[in-house]
Symmetry: C4
Subunit: 263 residues, 4 copies
């Protein structure tokens, strides 16, 4: 009996741990990923009153199913984790696993079920809803690409921070100019530098909502120059990031090929 | 008699089949391309009441001419297709050709004529109009570049999907933040996460219609950070696609030169 | 006397013809360039009623001075052109020069003076104003870079036209979708495909004025996808053009260095 | 006594002069940088009435502390500057240092304290506020990256100015077209070329506030073409700047490594 339980634990560990399984996703993890996607989509759509109203029972039932599966997944992962040589000890190892970021995320994803038992008050309800969407972060476990992009962006951290500082300085500079030029004419929009910064950021990033824009002649000239400068300043991080991502992707593809060859 | 018909069929096949003709377009296909362009333009302009009113007879007449030419083209292509060694058999080959995507498209382009005989009801009319514009897809037959770009984008499919997933995650994340911050103040615009997603997508892509934007201080700070993050996240697919297209185009140009040399 | 006139003509030719002078601009051409810039700026500012009113005499006087100088320049260029071996013949050569694009542009730039004598009627006045701004094109004579960029863009003509056709197809496709989805709800903005095209172009280029945008749920989903697709499609011509310009500039810099070495 | 003062001066010089300290920032300069950041943030936030009201005493007190520290820093830097071999002479050297841009900036950063003693009149107050934000420029002393980017942008000055001139010509051209097409319909927005230029700049840079946009059919067609052309023209400086920054950053990283190796 103990022996067959041990074999089950090994088998489950290989099914659940992406690194143990190797390249691609195991059938179990495919199901988990699908449930994360469905659960998050439900949590997002449910915030829309037109979707929620009249379907509370259905949503609550689905949510119960999702949470239960995630609870079972959590318990099984805790049970199996001792197969990993980092968490080998039945008590200390399991405790170490329970405190690892992935396990904490899994617990958070289960919390809505446990809190739901207490009874959903209005404030708690909001927090529970947020937790449901946080489940999206469970995807992180399965992704090598996210890790690689993370490394790539950090490797260009110096260039990025310099270009960000320059871009921010220009934004502050433009907002100071428009605060002096338009501050008296449009106090609501340009009456202080923080207010002018809202205009400045939305113009530099070329979003241009149109809720605030200069109306004086000098203000328009300065805003035009700001918009033109914005193109140049946006080109900096764009160029740096584009090349960083392209490098990370090529390295990643090479690694994937290596893994495929081994298998 | 049969002999001269056979020679006509061979000659027509070489005129109509771009791959048989080789580099460039045959005179027949130039006419077909011009008719596709004219017919699509007419179908687009005709939806404008100011253009249609008082010119119904003219438009109907032109449409009849275009459809008839496309019908003749369809019949001739079906007749000639047996010259292609893939469709050599008079019955099975022709049936196989009739079911090929290009032939189905040609049939769809002729449908408005056939449906027009039945008499245009309001709902059918809409469908017929759509079919007229679908004729634009007939261009696909003549384009090697479209095929090449298709291949190029697929070769970077992994990179593109990763960067798209990251961009979408940030969009969802930004919309959740603004749902919590602005949801109570502007329920119409930010009252649910799907509603906030509309704002999020329009801000990330730097379109910025200005129909929805945050009005609270915290909301503006978060929206500003979102707009700045949007630039970085948009840089990813841009960089990947730009290099993919550039590669595809260089390879394509090389192939064109090879074909030119042979001819 | 004839001899000294001949020497004057040679000297003026070297002063006026950028190719004869070699690298950089001759003092005479610096003056001409400054006058073109001043004259165009005046013609632009003069259209603003707040600038024009009360200064009609001053503007008219300055315009007279500019036009007179350009008239003298035109006459001198025609007189000197025979020094160029392409226009050596006193009559045939000068006639050939008079019909060259640069000479025709010079004549157009002088026309406001000649037409002003006739007396400025309202419609003619508009035309005269346009001619004054057309003087900006006189700069073309002095620019090697414009020629080089022209060559660069043409060398990538095939790639650019393919990417433009794909981008336009997507724009048309998006406008057809929104015509069907929003046409009945907002007939003013999406009531016909040409109307929807205005929305489509402004969204794809991420300009986003905000004068038209979808209001239905399905319309917003489609518009969001359109905005995301817009980024990808805009990346194509951007990548192609950026590399074309970069190539043209490097080649140009190399040529400049060669010319500098020779001098 | 004199000897120990001399040693203090050498020690302070090494603490305060980034080039003497070598790679990274000395503890003294970390404090200075933090104070610059805090002081500028205060100066920016203080312009917002909601932040300033009721906290005038606190803000004034903090401002006094910041200014006093900067005054001490200024005096110490002037005292120590003779350790630099460029400013070795006690009088001439110090005078030369006092007139150097960095020292003038330091003096400007102290001015608000000295002017505050005189008593802040409304107009003077504005100027003082501006001076407080100008302190941000004090950061320039510590940054090698800013210097390097400056060099990089200048090295592509020719390419950038050419692409800027072409982009500006297109903007002027587009504004002339819309002045003729929409001038009579929307005199407020397109009634003169300078007015139309506002629309043109905001459209070319894809900001698109939506305060002005064409309403006639021809105007919309031209605006659509302008928006499409804008993408191409914006691609030029973007491509040039992106590669210039990327080059500057790689060179800079190489230099940093060299400095690190030496240390």
């Amino acid at each position: 009996m103990r022996h067959s339980l041990g074999r089950l634990r090994v088998w489950l560990y290989f099914q659940l741990e992406p690194k143990a399984w190797g390249y691609g996703l195991s059938p179990f993890n495919w199901v988990i990923c699908a449930l994360i996607a469905l659960s998050s989509t439900l949590a997002i759509l449910e915030t829309e009153p037109g979707v929620r109203e009249g379907r509370e029972a259905l949503i609550h039932g689905l949510e119960l199913v999702f949470s239960s599966v995630f609870l079972v997944e959590y318990i099984v992962r805790v049970w199996c984790c001792v197969e990993n040589r980092h968490y080998r000890h039945p008590f200390k190892g399991r405790l170490a696993y329970l405190l690892s970021p992935a396990a904490v995320l899994d617990l958070l994803a289960v919390l809505p079920l446990l809190l739901g038992v207490v009874g959903p008050q209005t404030l708690l309800l909001r927090f529970v809803r947020l937790l449901r969407i946080v489940r999206l972060a469970k995807f992180g476990r399965f992704s090598r690409a996210v890790h690689r992009i993370n490394v790539a962006v950090r490797s260009r951290g110096y260039e990025l921070s310099i270009s960000m500082i320059i871009a921010l300085s220009f934004m502050v500079f433009a907002s100071i100019l428009l605060y002096f030029v338009e501050g008296d004419v449009q106090p609501e929009a340009f009456g202080s530098i923080p207010r002018a910064l809202w205009w400045s950021v939305i113009t530099f990033t070329t979003v241009g909502y149109g809720d605030v824009y200069p109306i004086t002649h000098l203000g328009k000239v300065l805003a035009g120059l700001t918009a033109i400068a914005g193109i140049a300043l946006v080109a900096m991080p764009t160029g740096i990031l584009a090349s960083a991502f392209s490098d990370a992707m090529q390295r990643g593809r090479f690694e994937e090929d290596e893994i495929k060859k081994k298998n």
